[in-house]
């Protein structure tokens, strides 16, 4: 059950990701916005509208888990799909413990992403 035109926000400091993901998401039928940092996302007007957040874990400044914590503090219940390039990050299990819907390792397939999104949106 896909909810059309939901806003999915992408937060990743890597340019390749920010370039490629939004198009895929649009192909999936979502509206999408990309941010190069968690701070940029927080400063934007998308925080309230975002139905799902695709969030890189390791970022300079505010990391993915930091943003997760911040959103929790702000009582923003946005489902988070973590994406990470680093498989040996010990924060992955912790991130999931903190309530993320999924944690995908880069590179991930489009189906894996879609599955995670479904999970995220269903949770909502």
């Amino acid at each position: 059950m896909m909810i059309k035109r939901a806003l999915v926000s992408v937060v990743d400091d890597d340019e390749s990701i920010r370039e490629s993901l939004p198009d895929l998401l649009r192909e999936f039928g979502f509206r999408t916005r990309a941010f190069s940092s968690a701070e940029e996302f927080l400063a934007s007007d998308c925080v309230d509208q975002t139905r799902c957040l695709i969030l890189d874990i390791a970022m300079p400044g505010m990391t993915g888990p930091d943003l997760q914590r911040e959103l929790k503090l702000r009582r923003r219940q946005i489902p988070i799909v973590f994406i990470t390039a680093n498989r040996e990050e010990a924060v992955r299990p912790r991130a999931l413990e903190q309530g993320a819907v999924a944690c995908l390792f880069k590179p991930f397939s489009d189906t894996a992403l879609l599955e995670a999104l479904h999970l995220a949106l269903r949770v909502n």
Binding site: D14, S16, I17, E19, S20, L21, D23, L24, E27, A58, I83, A85, N86, R87, E88, E89, A90, R92, P93, F105, K106, P107, F108, S109, D110, L113
Partner: protein, 961 residues
């Protein structure tokens, strides 16, 4: 006319005669012109008589002015009868009435002795002028011609009379006129004279007035006041110069003073009222009000208006004088103020003040006095104040006072005054007379001063003398007093005992000779001389120690304090001495033991301190001063300590103070101190609290400078992080992680773009443009990835291993030191067992340490979930029988599956959740490169054990790379 024709020639003669007579008659007027009427008649009568040969002619002239008529009669001398004029007049008067209408034309009257024919003739139409009577004895009188003649003559006479009358009238009038004129002229002249006199007088008066006015103006302008004059109705007419100058207004403006601002608005109603009242009643007014000066400032004036009356009592003028009383008003105000102030002073000065009349009776008491004695002004006045004087002193005081009055001299006396609460205190009564210009005393002033304390002090002195002696006698210390020459004047019993002299033996002797050892006598004398000469006192007021000598010659140490006695005259000195022999010995002991302690502290780099928390008193040993780099012996306070404490560790100091406040029994801290040269010292502090004799809390503690060990710890720590860094940089795991992270980004991009591309192409209709875009991005990402790998390979190229001698014990200790914190954090209990005689191995120290670190980490990780038993980690080094050096790491963790043992060393195999499985394979390769081997096995009990062994270093050979 009856013409008688008898004698025509006579008739002609008669007629001729008649005509001649007529002519004569007609010519009469010429004779009497300008004459008086009486003259007219007189002439006429004469003419008629002559002409007509009358016997008499009578004439009566009426007086126009009503007076008695004039009678005239002329009698012919030739008459037969003697007619007396008086008779004629009388007869005719009676006979001829005044009313002419009654007159016949002729009639006869008896006169004398016969009858006489008379013919009255009217003078004037109605005989208003008079009458003429012609009389003749002839019987035929008057003939026609005579009648005619008479008539004409009468007419002429009338005319003439009228003329004459007129003339007379005229004359009279003229005379009268002249008279009148003369009179008038005279009168006029008189009046004129009068007038001239008056004018002259007036002029004089005016002159005088002008002069007066001028002088009055001068006066007005020169009197130092503002003057103006008003009419009786109150209109101002004259202003002196000053008033115009003051107001700065024109006279016209000033005239309307009641409606302008010349008078201060607040005063104006009052002024107008007074003014109106005065105008009405004529009584002068005298008011004070403010007037506006030309510059706008209002000043007080006293305004007096006086009326000027004429002889009749009517007011002719008002003179108004305005006197500037502004200064006076201000003076009055300031006087009032200063009076108030004076009053305040008199009642505030802290002395009892009073004043009295010349006879000595008191008039005034200030507040203090009355409050002090508790009397009211009523009660105290005159002689009532004596009630407060002490009965014993009263007579003396009153007598003294009366003497002062009698001799008119200021003076003083003492006496006790009773305070309001009944207590008597000594007072000094001081008086002073106030004299007028003539030198007579008009008032007395006095103050009473409390001298009670002084009086008591005087009593005290006597008592203190007695006490002093008692003190001297009882003192334990030796008290010796010398005069300015150094001679002993006092030598108390204690001195007697200490020095072994009798008092009498030493009094008057030189101190130096008595108690000062011979060797020091000169110096003592010099010191005293110097003091006397220069006032320089080196020895005064300080505690000194010196050597003294007893009577038996033995010398001993004394503690001494000298003070100078301050009295009048030359100085004397008192010395307080104490035999300190025993104390000196004790001091020596103490000094010795202190020296030991200090030495010990120095060696240990440990200082000691005591801290009395309540008073904040802190005592430090010398070593502690040295540690803190403070001047030894200086004052130590918490603040001063705080000034050295490292800014980042001040919270430790605060906590320490807090603990001390809460009186904990012990505390222990480590903190840094920052020296002035910015170097840092690490201090380890231990303190124990206790109570002193007074029950006060005191901490005794020790502070050790542990900088060296800390610094080496830090060096170790630094080395560890260096090592860790090296580890990160060189280990394959790191390499892989780095690759993974960096490369996965573009890889992810490639995968995502490709997926997108497929979807776009599969759309209806296909999104060719979008697909193209994604394809482009894919290529870009692919390039990025390959670039990355190239870079990473360059960065992480394998380096040549170094080859050195490595003491495995030391290497292991280092690794342990570096990992200590983390191991402690993970509650790992480390059990190192190092062999003593461990041979040195050859190899790459860092790599070997990497392996040891890896094993440690694995062991730690294996125990990370263990909670039911202690997390023991044993590290052991030993020498194998073959000479190899073995290192073993044993844990009490989750253990291993023996079957999977080999797999452990496979690259990328891991049982750890976040592990990459690189560590052990790399470790093994390192060890193998060192000609050694690495293996592991599960324990009998919980956990596993991993070991490696490497051959020792061969002398003279290097291990093959």
């Amino acid at each position: 006319m009856d013409v008688q024709s008898e004698h025509p020639a006579e008739e002609i003669k008669d007629l001729r005669r008649c005509v001649n007579d007529l002519v004569s008659v007609l010519a009469l007027p010429a004779m009497w012109s300008g004459g008086a009427p009486s003259q007219v008649v007189h002439t006429l009568l004469g003419s008629l008589r002559g002409m007509l040969r009358l016997d008499f002619v009578y004439g009566r002239l009426s007086d126009p002015s009503g007076d008695a008529p004039i009678e005239m009669v002329q009698v012919a001398e030739s008459g037969k009868r003697k007619l007396l004029p008086e008779e004629i007049c009388k007869t005719l008067r009676l006979g001829v009435s005044d009313d002419p209408r009654k007159w016949p034309s002729r009639f006869q009257v008896s006169m004398g002795d016969g009858d006489v024919s008379i013919m009255p003739l009217r003078l004037g139409l109605h005989a208003e002028l008079g009458v003429i009577v012609a009389g003749s004895e002839r019987a035929d009188f008057p003939t026609q011609t005579e009648s005619l003649l008479l008539s004409v003559a009468a007419n002429q006479a009338a005319i003439g009379l009228q003329e004459a009358r007129l003339l007379a009238e005229q004359k009279r009038l003229s005379t009268e006129l002249d008279q009148r004129v003369a009179q008038r002229t005279a009168a006029l002249a008189a009046v004129n004279e009068e007038l001239e006199r008056e004018i002259a007088e007036r002029r004089r008066a005016e002159e005088a007035l002008r002069a007066a006015e001028l002088s009055s103006r001068l006066i007005m302008d020169s009197i130092p006041g503002l003057v103006c004059a008003m009419s009786a109705a109150g209109e101002i007419q004259v202003f002196n110069r000053q008033i115009l100058e003051f107001f700065g207004k024109t006279p016209e403006e000033l005239k309307s003073w009641a409606t302008s601002d010349a008078v201060h608005p607040d005063d104006l109603p009052r002024v107008v009222a007074a003014f109106s009242h005065s105008m009405r009643t004529g009584s002068p007014y005298d008011i004070e009000h403010r007037c506006r000066r030309a510059d706008g400032v209002y000043q007080w004036f006293q305004v007096r208006a006086l009326p000027v009356r004429d002889t009749g009592g009517r007011i002719t003028r008002w003179y108004v004088l305005l006197t500037d009383i502004d200064d006076r008003k201000r003076a009055e105000d300031s006087l009032r103020a200063s009076e108030r102030y004076l009053n305040l002073i008199v009642n505030t000065i802290p002395a009892l003040a009073w004043s009295a009349r010349p006879d000595g009776s008191a008039e005034f008491f200030n507040r203090h006095y009355l409050d002090y004695v508790g009397l009211s002004a009523e009660q105290a006045k005159d002689w009532g104040w004596t009630a407060a004087v002490h009965p014993d002193d009263l007579n003396g005081v009153v007598a003294a006072w009366q003497r002062m009055i009698a001799f008119d001299e200021a003076g003083e006396c003492e006496g006790r005054l009773r305070r309001f609460d009944g207590e008597y205190r000594w007072f000094l009564f001081r008086t002073n007379p106030l004299r007028d210009e003539s030198g007579k005393t008009v008032k007395w002033f006095g103050t009473n001063t409390d001298i009670d304390d002084r009086k008591r002090a005087e009593g005290e002195t006597r008592r203190s003398e007695a006490r002093k002696t008692a003190i001297l006698d009882a003192a334990l210390d030796c008290i010796i007093t010398i005069d300015h020459q150094g001679c002993i004047t006092e030598f108390n019993p204690a001195a007697v005992r200490t020095f072994g002299y009798d008092r009498d033996d030493v009094l008057g002797k030189q101190l130096a000779d008595v108690i000062v050892p011979p060797a020091l006598r000169e110096r003592h004398r010099q010191g005293l001389a110097r003091y006397m000469a220069t006032g320089e006192a080196r020895a005064l007021g300080k505690r000194l120690e010196m050597t003294a000598v007893r009577a038996d010659g033995s010398e001993f140490p004394v503690e001494l304090a000298i003070s100078r006695i301050q009295l009048e005259g030359p100085p004397s000195f008192t010395g307080y001495l104490r035999d300190i022999t025993e104390r000196k010995l004790a001091e020596e002991e103490l000094r010795r033991s202190e020296a030991f302690l200090a030495e010990g502290q120095h060696l240990a780099r440990m200082g000691t301190f005591s801290w009395r928390v309540e008073s904040g008193e802190i005592t430090w040993s010398d070593q502690l001063y040295r540690i803190f780099e403070f001047e030894p012996g200086g004052l130590v306070t918490v603040e001063r300590i705080g000034s050295r404490v490292h800014p980042e560790d001040t919270h430790i100091l605060i906590d320490m103070v807090e603990q001390a406040r809460r009186a904990v029994s012990d505390f222990e801290y480590e903190h840094r101190v920052l020296m002035p040269d910015q170097s840092v010292k690490y201090l380890h502090l231990v303190a124990h609290g206790g109570r002193d004799q007074e029950g006060r809390l005191e901490y005794i503690g020790a502070v050790q400078d542990v900088t060296e060990s800390r610094l080496s710890e830090q060096a170790l720590s630094q080395a560890r992080s260096d090592l860790a860094h090296v580890t990160r940089v060189t280990s394959l795991g790191v390499l892989t992680a780095s690759i993974a992270h960096e490369v996965n980004q573009p890889l992810s991009g490639i995968v995502t773009n490709a997926s997108t591309c497929l979807r776009m192409l599969a759309a209806e209709p296909p999104n060719i443009e979008g697909a193209r875009e994604t394809a482009k991005r894919t290529i870009r990402d692919g390039n990025r990835a390959s670039e990355l790998i190239t870079r990473l390979r360059a960065l992480f190229a394998k380096k040549e291993s170094t080859n050195e001698s490595v003491d495995l014990n030391e290497a292991t200790r280092e690794v342990i030191a570096l990992s200590l914190t983390e191991l402690q954090r993970n509650r790992i209990i480390l059990r190192p067992e190092f062999a003593d005689d461990l041979p040195v191995v050859a190899g790459d120290r860092v790599q070997l340490q990497q392996v040891i670190l890896n094993l440690l980490k694995n062991a730690s990780d294996a125990m990370s979930t263990v909670d039911d038993r202690p997390r023991h980690l044993r590290i052991r080094t030993e020498r194998e029988t073959g000479g190899q050096v073995r290192l073993t790491v044993q844990d009490a963790g989750v253990g291993l599956d023996p079957q999977g043992m080999d797999r452990l060393f496979e690259a990328f195999y891991t049982t750890k959740n976040d592990g990459m499985g690189i560590g052990l394979s790399v470790s093994r390769s390192i060890i193998e490169r060192h000609q050694g081997r690495l293996w592991g096995a599960p324990n009998d009990g919980p956990g596993a054990t991993f070991s490696f062994s490497i051959p020792p270093r061969q002398r003279g050979t290097t291990s093959a790379g």
